[in-house]
């Protein structure tokens, strides 16, 4: 008898068993084991008729409810984005981000006034560095505030519930809760999120989770939204940003379904997760977690963004930037922003998403004195709300950055999948923005 005989007999046996027990034999075996256990425990374990209901169970009854689970999560996220955006027109309970922005703004304004050199050196300092890097740094408090709230949700034990609730939704598209954790991490940064997929054993599940992760809106996208929403969506800033995050999740889920039913077919692996009891998050602990996540954006503003902005400024100073932008801007005409400035911005976006803001900041130096970057974009480029939304959508859906592409290459161990991720996300971004702009134009 050879191994083939054994496997052959196994297949025959499985066919016979499936005929009597149905497809899901795994649960039959598990059921028999649990049957044995409850049998053995009959005289061993006496539990009170009514179990004491813990606070955790009470909260979970609401939070994990089949119908309320996702709406509750969405409501929490909506509230958080109200804190992240600077409120317009007077005091509001949500103005924390606004205070920080004003301070940084004044600081950079004062710095600009101190620059005493003229000529190209002065221009580099005031327009390039203060205009470019400053315009990015001004949004970093918002990133920190978002990360602070996400840390609170994690430390309290609530994020584990979100993974559980998402598990039900993800199951429909062939993924499970183990993919939900990397997706939620994507709200911070796609790089650790993609590395977190290592816990997924099934290759198919893991590849799918990696390839859809770039659609989750990471912290570096936030400055782009914050640059545009105050001008174009003054009354609904938080809601519009919240909407972009939701769109990111929906596109990720849709893409997962697409990949799972084409390239990575097969049943999802079973998944067990344990929900930790709730606890009151500690303020200082949340601050530490916020800092660990957010500090990279500060480091990047001083290194990568700094370098990109100087390069952009130099190209702009010599006039080369415009020619580069004009060479490709026609590609974006169907999306509504076929202009050289956003075209250049999207090129730098591949280096780091927040570099888009730095690029606009360097091109439109001195914007802060005349009402901010959003205002200048509205005035000089003639964008309306639809164009701004189309542009934000494009930056949301296009591949996050070179660093995350590098991680995709490393984690899939394949250049082909990395190029696939690049092409796939760019394609989805172009189609998405074009659809929004073209359909939107019919109504406006």
């Amino acid at each position: 008898m050879s191994p083939e005989d054994i496997l052959h007999s196994k297949d025959e046996a499985l066919a016979r068993l499936r005929a009597s027990f149905g497809e899901d034999l795994d649960t039959v075996f598990a059921g028999r084991r649990y049957g044995f256990i409850s049998d053995a425990l009959r005289e061993v374990l006496v539990k009170p008729k009514k179990e004491k209901v813990t606070w955790t169970e009470r909260i979970d009854r609401v939070v994990l409810n089949r119908f309320l689970g996702i709406p509750i999560f969405l409501a929490l996220m909506w509230i958080i984005f109200q804190f992240v955006t600077p409120a317009m027109g007077g005091a509001s309970m949500f103005t924390i981000a606004g205070y920080f922005m004003d301070w940084i703004d004044e600081g950079f304004g004062w710095l600009g006034g101190q620059v005493g050199v003229g000529g190209w050196g002065g221009a580099l300092l005031t327009d390039g560095i203060i205009g470019g890097v400053g315009s990015v740094i001004i949004f970093i408090p918002s990133i920190f505030i978002l990360f602070f709230f996400i840390s609170l949700l994690e430390d309290s034990g609530y994020m584990a519930r979100v993974a559980f609730v998402m598990d039900r939704a993800l199951r429909r598209v062939g993924l499970h809760g183990r993919s939900a954790v990397p997706m939620l991490l994507g709200f911070g940064c796609n790089i650790p999120a993609i590395m977190a997929t290592r816990t997924i054993e099934s290759k198919r599940d893991r590849m799918t989770t990696i390839l859809v992760n770039p659609f989750m809106s990471c912290g570096a996208r936030l400055p782009i939204y914050l640059m545009l929403v105050p001008t174009f969506f003054a009354a609904y800033q938080g809601t519009v940003i919240f909407g972009l995050y939701v769109i990111g999740v929906l596109v990720a889920v849709g893409a997962a379904w697409l990949l799972r039913s084409t390239l990575f077919r097969g049943p999802p692996a079973p998944f067990v997760m344990e929900l930790p009891p709730y606890r009151l998050p500690r303020f200082t602990e949340a601050l530490v977690h916020m800092w660990e996540r957010g500090k990279w954006f500060l480091v990047r503003a001083g290194t990568l963004i700094f370098a990109v902005v100087i390069l952009i400024w130099a190209l702009d100073y010599t006039g080369a930037l415009e020619s580069i932008g004009r060479a490709i801007d026609v590609l974006f005409s169907p999306c509504g922003f076929g202009q050289w400035q956003p075209a250049v911005g999207l090129i730098t976006a591949v280096l780091a998403k927040e570099a888009v803001v730095g690029t606009f900041g360097a091109i439109f130096a001195g914007a802060e004195e005349v009402g901010g970057l959003g205002f200048i974009i509205n005035f000089e480029l003639g964008w309306d709300s639809l164009t701004a939304f189309s542009f934000m959508l494009f930056t949301l859906l296009m591949v996050p950055c070179v660093a995350s592409l590098g991680v995709i290459q490393r984690e899939t161990n394949s250049w082909r999948w990395m190029l696939f991720a690049l092409g796939f996300t760019l394609g989805v971004a172009w189609i998405g923005s074009t659809l929004v702009f073209q359909i939107g134009s019919l109504f406006i």
Binding site: I6, R16, D26, Y34, V44, L45, E201
Partner: protein
């Protein structure tokens, strides 16, 4: 001087790590399981003149082939043949935790159940008859409260006792007539074709019927 090697197993969040620290104190080593990035911890102690080596298995709920942690746990038990498995069981979630214990027994391991967190179970008014549990499963059961270091000595006594006995247990779960017929049939074919295997033929048969990827590979590899 005799030596006993035990594998410390259990679900996640059952106090397994605390128990490991109670047992081994400062004599701990940390490394990786071969070929994977899962942390491996081991340590040792002396008790009643015995050298007891403790290997901490990854915390798992089950012994399927779906996660690397589970494969590590069952591979270690079968291939490295520790003298026994000590399964740390959360007494307050007894039913779910015994699922792992039952699978170690099916695998043919010599088992001790450490009924941990008995204080939590008591606070929820769960009454557990440890002696009867021991009878029903045919394995020693020791009550412990790891985070107060209670029951550690009793557990060590039990380890030494069991270390001296022979494993004559023939644990099996009755899967019902229809499935049992297929198990028996496959088991016989396996016995005829594979001369030497670490795994018991009945276990291999059950796992083949559960379509376990790793066991399918093992069987193929013996061609």
């Amino acid at each position: 001087m005799s030596e006993v090697t035990i594998a410390l197993a259990g679900n996640p969040n059952t106090g397994k790590t605390t128990m490991f620290n109670n047992l081994t104190g400062a004599r701990q080593h940390v490394g990786n399981w071969p070929g994977v990035t899962v942390e491996k911890k081991w340590g040792g102690l002396k008790h009643q003149g015995y050298d007891i080596n403790v290997v901490d298995l990854p915390g798992v709920y089950s012994l399927t082939a779906y996660s690397p942690d589970e494969v590590i746990a069952r591979r270690f038990v079968v291939e490295e043949r520790p003298d026994m498995v000590v399964d740390i069981v959360d007494a307050a979630n007894l039913e779910r935790n015994l699922y792992l214990a039952v699978q170690f027994l099916e695998l043919g391991a010599k088992l001790i159940i450490a009924l941990n967190m008995t204080d939590v179970a008591a606070s929820r008014n769960h009454r557990i008859d440890a002696e009867k549990l021991s009878q029903r499963l045919g394995v020693p059961v020791v009550r412990t409260v790891a985070n107060r270091n209670q029951g550690t000595k009793e557990l060590l006594d039990c380890i030494v006792n069991l270390g001296q006995s022979v494993n004559d247990a023939d644990f099996r779960i009755d899967y019902g007539k229809e499935i049992e017929r297929e198990i028996k049939n496959l088991q016989e074919i396996i016995q005829k074709s594979l001369l030497s295997l670490n795994y018991s033929p009945r276990w291999l048969a059950i796992k083949l019927l559960e379509e376990d990827d790793e066991v399918t590979r093992i069987v193929q590899g013996k061609g």
